[in-house]
Amino acid sequence: MGTIRYTKEHEWVLVDGDTATVGISPYAQEQLGDVVFVELPEVGKKIEKGKEMAVVESVKAASEVYAPITGEVAEVNNALTDAPATVNEDALGKGWFAKIKLANKAELDGLMDEAAYKAYVDGLH
C-alpha cells in the first residue's frame, strides 16, 4: 500500500497500484457530526477531480464529497448504506467511500501528505 494523501476539501486517497481508495478525513467526519446517510456513485461512473462524487448527510445537513482524483469508479463501499455511522467510527478504514481506477497518476502530486494535511487542518482553527 502507498501513502495516504489528502485534499484541501478533506478527502483522502490511498493508492494501491492503479487503484485508489477514497474517503473523508477524521477531521471532516468530526465537523459533520453523526453521519446518517451516504449516497455513493455507481460502479463504472467516470469521475473528475474536484467534481461531486458522493453525498454525506449528518442529522442536520447534506454535504457534497468531491472526487479527489480523476478516474472510473471500480467499487463502492455498500456497507455504508446500512451503517453510515461507520464513517464516524473509522473514517480512514472501514468508512471508505469508493475505489477509483486512476486516469492520471500525476494528479496525486498535487495532494497533501499526512504532515502537510495536519498543518493545514491546524491552521483552520
Binding site: E11, D34, V36, E39, K60, S63, V65, Y66
Partner: protein, 390 residues
C-alpha cells in the same frame, strides 16, 4: 467536501443582508458554561449558541427521549404585558393574535401567533396568565420586531416590558418531571400548559410545563445573574445532560412542531399550516384580529395547500426547499423542514402540498439531487407526544 454549516443555522428570514457577518454575536448568560461543557458553538438568530455537545446530536436526541435534557433557550424573547387588569392586557393582545387569551385562568398557558393583515404568521408564541400579568415567550429572530409591533399597538394604560434580565432554560424528557419535583416539590402539581412560580435550588423562577420536544418538561425563566448556578444545579442531577440546538431541531421535527421562518412564515396562514386548533370558536366567529377576513374565507371555502408530514420511503433525507411532485411529475409543493428522525431511525419531513395530495397516505415524489424519491404523506407527530396532562 463542502460543509454546509455556515448557512445551516441561519433562520431563513435573517438573510445575510439583514445580519452582516461583521455584526458581533450576542451571548446568553450560559455561554461560558456551554464552552466549558465542550459545546460546538454556531451563530443562530444573532447569538453564539451550542449546536451540540461532545455527546453528539444523535446521542443528545435519544437522551431527551429517555432521560432529561437541559436546553439553553435564553435567546428567545420574554415579555411581560401589564394593564389595569389581565383581561385588558389579553384583550389588547387579541387585537394582534387570532387566539383566545382572555379565557385563560391564572396559571394557564396557551399557544398562539401574531398575524398580519393577509392572515400570514408574523411569529408564533406562548402566552401564560400569571395573576394579572400576561407573560409571553416569542422566537429569538423575531423578538425585536414583535416587541415593536406589540408596543406600537397597545392602548393607553397597557404596557409591554422586555425581560432581558432573565434567562430561559428548558428541561425536557420523560424524567424531567421527577428531576424538577425533587428540587421543587410544588412542581408535581403542575400539568401540561400551566405555569407557576417555583423555587429551584434556592433560586426563584417562573416555570411552565411545556416545551418544544413533544416530551413532558418545563421551560424555566430565571434571572441572568442566577442562570449559571441554576443550570449547574440541574446538571448535577443524574438524569440531566445538556442538549444543543441540533437535537432541539430533530426533536421538534419528530414531534411535528413548526419552526418559525421555515414551516410557518408571513406567507403561510394558520389555516394552511394546520394550526386552526389554536384558534377558538369565539375568535373565529368574532374576528377582530389582523387577517380575520382572510382566515374566515379559508375556513369557509378551504385552502389550496396544507402543511403535512412526509415519510420518504428510502433512506435519503430530503431537506428544506426540496420540491414535492405528484406522480405525473408536476410540482405540488415544497418541504419546509426535513432531515433524519433519530427516534425512528429514518428520514422525516414536513412541508406544504396541494390540498388534493394532502390526505394521509398520498403518494408523492421528493426531488432530491435530480432524482424523484418516493414518499408518503404521513400523520404527525412522527413520535407520540408524551405530555403530562391531567
Amino acid at each position: 467536501m463542502r460543509f454546509h454549516r455556515k448557512g445551516e443555522w441561519r433562520i431563513p428570514i435573517l438573510s445575510e443582508d439583514v445580519l452582516p457577518e461583521t455584526e458581533s454575536l450576542k451571548q446568553t448568560p450560559l455561554h461560558a458554561l456551554h464552552v466549558e461543557l465542550g459545546a460546538k458553538m454556531v451563530p443562530f438568530a444573532g447569538y453564539d449558541m451550542p449546536v451540540q455537545y461532545p455527546m453528539g446530536i444523535l446521542g443528545e436526541h435519544q437522551h431527551a427521549r429517555a432521560g432529561a435534557g437541559l436546553f439553553d433557550v435564553s435567546h428567545m424573547g420574554q415579555f411581560r404585558i401589564t394593564a389595569p387588569s389581565y383581561d385588558a392586557a389579553a384583550a389588547a393582545i387579541e387585537t394582534l393574535c387570532p387566539n383566545d387569551f382572555r379565557s385563560l385562568k391564572s396559571g394557564q398557558q396557551r399557544y398562539g401567533f401574531l398575524t398580519n393583515p393577509k392572515g400570514g404568521i408574523l411569529d408564533d408564541l406562548m402566552v401564560t396568565r400569571d395573576g394579572e400579568v400576561l407573560r409571553m415567550v416569542v422566537n429569538a429572530a423575531c423578538k425585536d420586531a414583535d416587541y415593536g409591533h406589540i408596543a406600537g399597538h397597545l392602548p393607553a394604560g397597557c404596557k409591554i416590558e422586555r425581560l432581558d434580565d432573565f434567562a430561559l432554560l428548558a428541561l425536557q424528557g420523560p424524567k424531567a418531571g421527577a428531576v424538577v419535583a425533587r428540587l421543587a416539590p410544588a412542581s408535581a402539581q403542575m400539568t401540561f400548559m400551566t405555569g407557576a412560580k417555583l423555587e429551584i435550588a434556592g433560586i426563584s423562577c417562573y416555570a411552565t410545563r411545556s416545551g418544544y420536544t413533544g416530551e413532558d418538561g418545563f421551560e424555566i425563566s430565571v434571572p441572568n445573574t442566577s442562570a449559571v448556578n441554576f443550570a449547574r444545579a440541574l446538571l448535577q442531577e443524574p438524569e440531566v445532560k445538556p442538549i444543543g440546538l441540533g437535537a432541539r431541531d430533530s426533536l421538534r421535527l419528530e414531534a411535528g412542531l413548526c419552526l418559525y421562518g421555515s414551516d410557518i412564515t408571513e406567507k403561510t396562514t394558520p389555516v394552511e399550516a394546520g394550526l386552526s386548533w389554536a384558534i377558538a370558536e369565539r375568535r373565529r366567529k368574532e374576528g377582530g384580529f389582523p387577517g380575520d377576513a382572510v382566515l374566515q374565507k379559508q375556513w369557509a371555502e378551504g385552502v389550496s395547500r396544507k402543511r403535512v408530514g412526509l415519510l420518504p420511503e428510502g433512506k435519503a433525507p430530503a431537506r428544506a426547499h426540496t420540491e414535492i411532485a405528484n406522480d405525473e411529475g408536476r410540482e405540488i409543493g415544497e418541504i419546509t423542514s426535513g432531515g433524519f428522525g433519530p427516534s425512528l431511525g429514518k428520514p422525516i419531513a414536513m412541508g406544504y402540498v396541494a390540498t388534493a395530495s394532502a390526505a394521509i397516505g398520498s403518494a408523492v415524489n421528493l426531488m432530491v439531487r435530480g432524482k424523484a424519491l418516493p414518499a408518503r404523506v404521513a400523520k404527525m407527530p412522527f413520535t407520540p407526544h408524551r405530555y403530562h396532562r391531567n
